[in-house]
């Protein structure tokens, strides 16, 4: 299995390696000072040396991201279901959802700190906020992706609204939902980190701030790598879940 993985992915792995080599050589040849840009070798060394610090700051960010992911998507899915079943409700609340989405997350973060304080709640809410809108829009689209003829079939079979929802609508929406969840799996990490920037003494976001102000560039780079690693883990988890749940292909391809 591992050899197959290498056979399939040798090209991107090769280009990544080449970038590291060029980067390392560039730093050495031009004698760039470490606090401006560290060499990959020193970043990797820091990853190993500072692993305790990195893990200690990784876990809170993981929890905040996960909690934000669950909360934001739960609200988005619930709201999408309500929108699809009640057009009045959609008319009343969709513009507000759009408005909330247009506020830059960096601008709203301090407001949330003032309201919810400096604890984990604020970070979870920011992570949830950033996941919320793409999932709402995709879920509404997914639930409405049922064809007109399918709706007529439901009427001929005298399906109730809830039968139609559980047997037909919900399943039809899954491919749309999963494309939104894949977006959310990476943006929720961004949300948690932004939340930590605004005010936190632990977490990858606060470690980034701390390393920057102390000119500890290798630690800063190592933290960035760990942060993106977290996003990649969440993305892969959602992708694997998608592949296990959706074994079918949508009809529209024909």
């Amino acid at each position: 299995m591992i050899t197959r993985f290498f056979k399939k992915n040798w090209l991107p792995m090769f280009t990544t390696m080449m970038i590291f080599v060029v980067w390392e050589l560039g730093i050495r040849i031009f004698g760039v000072p470490e606090y401006i840009a560290p060499a990959p070798s020193s970043v990797f060394a820091t990853l190993v040396e500072e692993r305790d610090v990195l893990v200690r700051n990784f876990l809170p960010t993981l929890y905040e991201s996960l909690a934000g992911f669950v909360l934001g998507n739960f609200i988005a899915i619930t709201l999408a279901i309500a929108f699809v079943h009640n057009k009045m409700f959609e008319k009343a609340f969709f513009p507000i959802a759009v408005f909330v989405n247009t506020i830059p997350i960096l601008a709203v973060a301090p407001v949330l700190v003032l309201i919810f304080g400096n604890g984990i709640a604020t970070k979870v809410i920011i992570a949830a906020l950033i996941c919320f809108f793409p999932t709402l829009v995709n879920m509404v689209r997914g639930l409405e992706s049922v064809s007109g003829q399918m709706i007529e079939l439901g009427r001929i079979l005298s399906a109730t609204k809830s039968e139609f929802f559980w047997k037909i609508r919900l399943q039809s929406s899954l491919p749309f939902l999963f494309s939104a969840l894949k977006i959310a799996s990476t943006t929720c990490v961004i949300g948690a980190i932004v939340g930590e920037w605004v005010g936190a003494d632990i977490g990858l976001g606060s470690l980034i701030i701390e390393a920057t102000f102390n000119f500890r560039s290798p630690l800063l780079y190592a933290t960035v790598i760990v942060s993106s690693g977290l996003a990649v883990i969440l993305f892969i988890t959602v992708s694997v879940a998608e592949r296990m749940i959706i074994k079918w292909k949508p009809e529209h391809s024909a």
């Binding site: 079979l157 109730t160 047997k167 959706i246 009809e251 391809s253």
Partner: protein, 279 residues
């Protein structure tokens, strides 16, 4: 070939073979001075039509003349604006709840996450609130039997994306038959299929009609298909949608594909083409 010219008379589509059914069985479909309107637009005007139980009626007409609307009126999908429509003597909503009729669309409308057999069983899992209004529950076995009837034995567990267009449409037909409907409404069911698949399915639908004795209303835009299948062809004209005429197809059943090469067939075909051009 007999042509029934329509004055104010009611068009009576009788199944000549089953005339013994008697006068007291209500017609499968009865339209009496029926009108359908969409806003200011009259889609169907003054439709008078009786289709006897067990008949096979094909419906032809230029596109946009209201063929689909006619089937959708009978299946309680669009409301009647004026006049009367009944299915086996009942109002269409009652007939719908009793599953007196089933519908096959041009698009197979299979649920892509369900296997063939699970798609066939869908009608048994939906509309369960009204199940007591239906004659009797249909057993698991018959879903398999129905797939065999449409020639899909061995493909029960295939997902729709693993099936060809013709196979998907056969699953849709099996699904339509699961509640033993007395009336089958088909709206250009083979319109999107290639010609060879279509020919094979035409033969199959005649076999199904013979075995199930269900009444069939079949919309098509293919003149040969209309003649090959129907005991009668109902010709609609456009703007507004009205009955132009009903043409008897006096070709004996069982019909097989070579019948399309016979002079009688060609004569009817030529006649229908002329009428269609003036609709």
């Amino acid at each position: 070939m007999t042509v029934q010219k329509l004055g104010k008379n009611m068009t009576n589509v009788t199944n000549n073979m089953n005339k013994t059914a008697g006068v007291n069985t209500p017609p499968a479909v009865s339209l009496n001075n029926a009108h359908v309107r969409f806003g200011d637009m009259t889609a169907l005007e003054n439709i008078d039509l009786d289709v006897e139980d067990g008949a096979f009626l094909t419906i032809l007409g230029p596109s946009g003349c209201g063929k689909s609307t006619l089937l959708r009126l009978v299946s309680d999908l669009v409301p009647i604006a004026d006049g009367e429509v009944t299915v086996f003597g009942n109002q269409v909503d009652k007939a719908r709840l009793a599953r007196e009729f089933a519908f096959v669309f041009q698009d197979s409308t299979l649920l892509p996450w369900r296997t063939a057999i699970e798609n066939v069983r869908l009608p048994l899992e939906i509309g369960t609130k009204h199940a007591h209004k239906r004659p009797k529950a249909v057993s698991e076995k018959s879903a398999e039997e129905l797939l065999a009837l449409v020639g899909l034995e061995g493909r029960e567990d295939a997902l729709p994306h693993e099936l060809s267009g013709g196979m998907k449409q056969r699953v849709a037909i099996a699904r339509a038959l699961i509640c033993k409907p007395r009336l089958l409404l088909m709206d250009e069911p083979f319109g999107a299929l290639d010609e060879i698949t279509r020919d094979r399915l035409n033969e199959q639908i005649l076999k199904i009609w013979k075995e199930t004795k269900t009444t069939i209303l079949f919309v098509t835009h293919s003149i040969p298909e209309a003649i090959f299948l129907g005991q009668k062809v109902l010709m609609l004209e456009a703007n507004p949608g009205r009955v132009r005429e009903v043409v008897d197809i006096d070709l004996p059943y069982p019909r097989e594909l070579p019948i399309r090469e016979t002079p009688e067939f060609n004569k009817i075909s030529r006649y229908l083409r002329e009428v269609l051009e003036t609709c």
